[in-house]
Amino acid sequence: MRRVLRLCLTFLSLVTSAVSAQEPQTREEADRQRREQQAKEATAYKPNGLEKALDFAEDRAIFLLDREGFHPKLGSLTTGSGFAYGVGFRDRDLFSNRGALEIWAAGSIKRYWATEARMTFPRLANNHLHLEAWGSRRDYPQENFFGLGPDSNRDDRSDYAIRTDHFGGRAGVRPVAHLLVGGGMEYLKPRLGAGQNDRYPDVPVVFPPSDVPGIDSRSDFMRSSAFAEVDYREPIYAKKGGWYRFDFSHYDDRTTDQFTFNRFDADVRQFFGFLAGRRVIALRLAASTSDTDAGQTMPFFFMPTLGGNDTLRGFREYRFRGPHAILAQGEYRWEIWSGFDGALFYDAGKVADTRSELNFKDLESDYGVGFRFNTNNGVMFRVDAAFGSNDGNHLYIVVGGVF
């Protein structure tokens, strides 16, 4: 009976509410009733998890790498260092926003580490003058060495450690748009030691000291340099234009007067965009040559090298080393989606014992395919797979671009 009673009460309440909610007689009244009902049901907006995460990423995390003050330092320290991570501090608000200070220290998964303090004044004299000063220590414990010259043997792989202190400064003047000329001074204090990679012998185990100039050196160097740079790429991750740099350096052995030498580097990069810039042919030609006065020798650790993710990609890091080197690279880049490109590449180059051998004969070469995540300002991240060399296939996952 209780159930029947409850049913009757339900019936009465339904009838009462139905009669009280009068049927609207006009459209305006109908809409007003709907809004009154909605006002009763209104709830506060609650963002979902994805929304919260992306909001946070955009609002805060995006500043993580580029933020002022303390920030994580991620990337690589040098070719072959492996992924590095550390901490940095920056202040880009010095002298009324004219100067910037950056200090960082980082170590890599292969136990490379480095620390650096750098102060830059990039926009002095109405953007015509660029000043820079730095001090750093770089400790690279397992650098590859296969011998000098083009005929070095891959089976002679050995390693060495090098720790270098740098203190220097540089000034650049921009007399006209796209052109930067300048020079600088840098004090270098390289110290060599036994390689830390247990899988390979130390350099002196494989090579006699006479074949490796500078292996026993404890010299300090003063490097004085002059450079000219032309940059008319559009944009920086270029679809057209060019970037050319010419660098002359004099290395003065301040300790033993045995390793004084001159080095000249030229790097010419040209970009040809077509199909609305969605396809780009990128070409690079780089050459390095050196000379010494009588009785002087160029230490091996200042010689140009080829091999690794940004030169001859079909060869392991520093596979070739010599007093002279030439490198030609070509890439065909095609845009797949905005910010994501594919690339087919071909690299060729060699090192030479003499300048007269610095030509396009008997070049080592490789080819491959890659993908790049990019912005107009450069490649953030790339994957390159290289084939076609006599040094095996190589896969690179790299923070940063090639050229």
């Binding site: 159930r3 049913l7 006009t26 459209r27 809409d31 994805l50 929304e51 955009e58 989606w337 594919g342």
Partner: protein, 563 residues
Amino acid sequence: MVTTSISWSAVFSRAAAAGVLVLFALVLPQSASPRFYPDDPLWTDNDRVADASKVTSVEDSNSYDFVINTLGDPGERRDVRALNVNTVDEVPDSSWFTNRIGRTPMSVEAIRRGPDRADRVNVAGWKVSGGKSAGVQPGFRMTDAEGQIYQIEVDPSSNPEIASGAEIIGTAFYHAMGYNVVDVYPAEIDREALVIADGATIRDPLNGRRRQMKKYDLDNVFNRAARLKNGHYRVLVSRFASGTPLGNFRYYSRRPDDPNDLVLHEHRRELRGARIFGAWLNHDDSRGINSLDMLERTNGRAWVRHYMFDFGSILGSGTIFAQRHRSGNEYIYEQKPGWLTMATLGLYVRPWITIDYPDVPKSVGRLEAERFDPVKWKPEYPNAAFANVRPDDAFWAARIVSKFSDAAIRAVVEKAEYTDPAATDFLAKTIIARRDKVVAAFINQVCPVVDTTLSADGTLSFTNAAVDAKAATAPERYELTWFRFDNATDQRTTAGDVMRVSTGSARMPNGLAGDFIGVSITAVHAQQPGWTNPSTFFFRRAASGWTLVGVERGAVTAPVLRG
């Protein structure tokens, strides 16, 4: 063996419940609403009636808006008539939209003026009151002597006048269409005369923290700005909207905390129609984060006004560079062409890559009309309201577009005050050419009969919007199907045979009577297959004759009985 026991009390209870339901059904008044209320058609949607003071800000991030619309499928995607139109298939005035050129002729001067309260503004004496909070265009805020805040934005040095020109043009057009927009003015600023107000703050671009604004913050803006020959800078001055900012609206769903927001945004006619306007003016940046909601108060009640915002990236402008080739042709992320391009190592060439954009002043950017296909046009990423566009929505918008005369378009472009007359001329011609394509593409998807009247003596008159807009020639004939209409049951009863006429005039069949009658019209035209998509008109008997009370464009959605 199965045994069954019967509970007589349970049987009695069930019988009682059934009885209650039957009684309820009999006693309750009929709940079905009539198709037409006495006050139809409503031309004002009073969406300020409920107090919305508890509404909170919803400010989407760029990345969320992109991800949810590109990889998600937000909103309701279904083929349903827009839910906020009145019974004559028009958008009533509301906090979203005000009928302007679509309903009443506007003078060229009124279109050109747009929302502006003044002819010009002079920023001399104003103070810099803060940094700019969002967007890629460099800028800051200034406050005038009365305390009104304005946003100041500069053009990129690579493309002088490009973003400010686009913003001025877009604002005038979208205002005339009917959207809420803010006043914008071109002005000239002397960098050296700027004064930063005490207490002016900026969100540091390097770390996101709010701090006091400094002189070099202005340097950072002007270092990227196009400079005039006299050393000053042309800037865009945008008046801040009244009220309290509530972030942006979305092109899908509703604000759950706004009692006045009844209709899912993806089913709002003016948001669906924005896809057509976007195609016309290449507003590929028409997305939620480029909208603005403001909380206003009237008579002590709070309500939300919805603005279209940020037209700096329309036409050929990409705000800080010339518009990209992809703009309007492909979403930022679109699977099929991307995979094809990847798999073929770039041998597959997307069609838009081969568009040969005309060589025009840098203030114009990248725009063209020759290869422009309004049907295939796309914004930066998918948009739920745009995905729901039906022929009736497209017709509504195309008809509005058709009302912008050549003279009006030229006047709006001239308002941007481009230094190079070639820029003005090119833009005006291109917008006119794109208008013609948009109108031709969308006004002909349904039978374009409009301005339909039924006189007391039974004479039906109508015009053809497509013919009037020169988007089509006259049809071979019109075919009219008359019917009686039962407003309570929504049923139509056909009266007589199909009537065929060659002009916009016909006689109602003899003997057709009732409180509501209607006529469904199609047209026969060899080049316009969309004209077989009927437009149906409903008339209510009034003391002086017949009043148009309903318009339905497209297939019949209610049962039709043969008479």
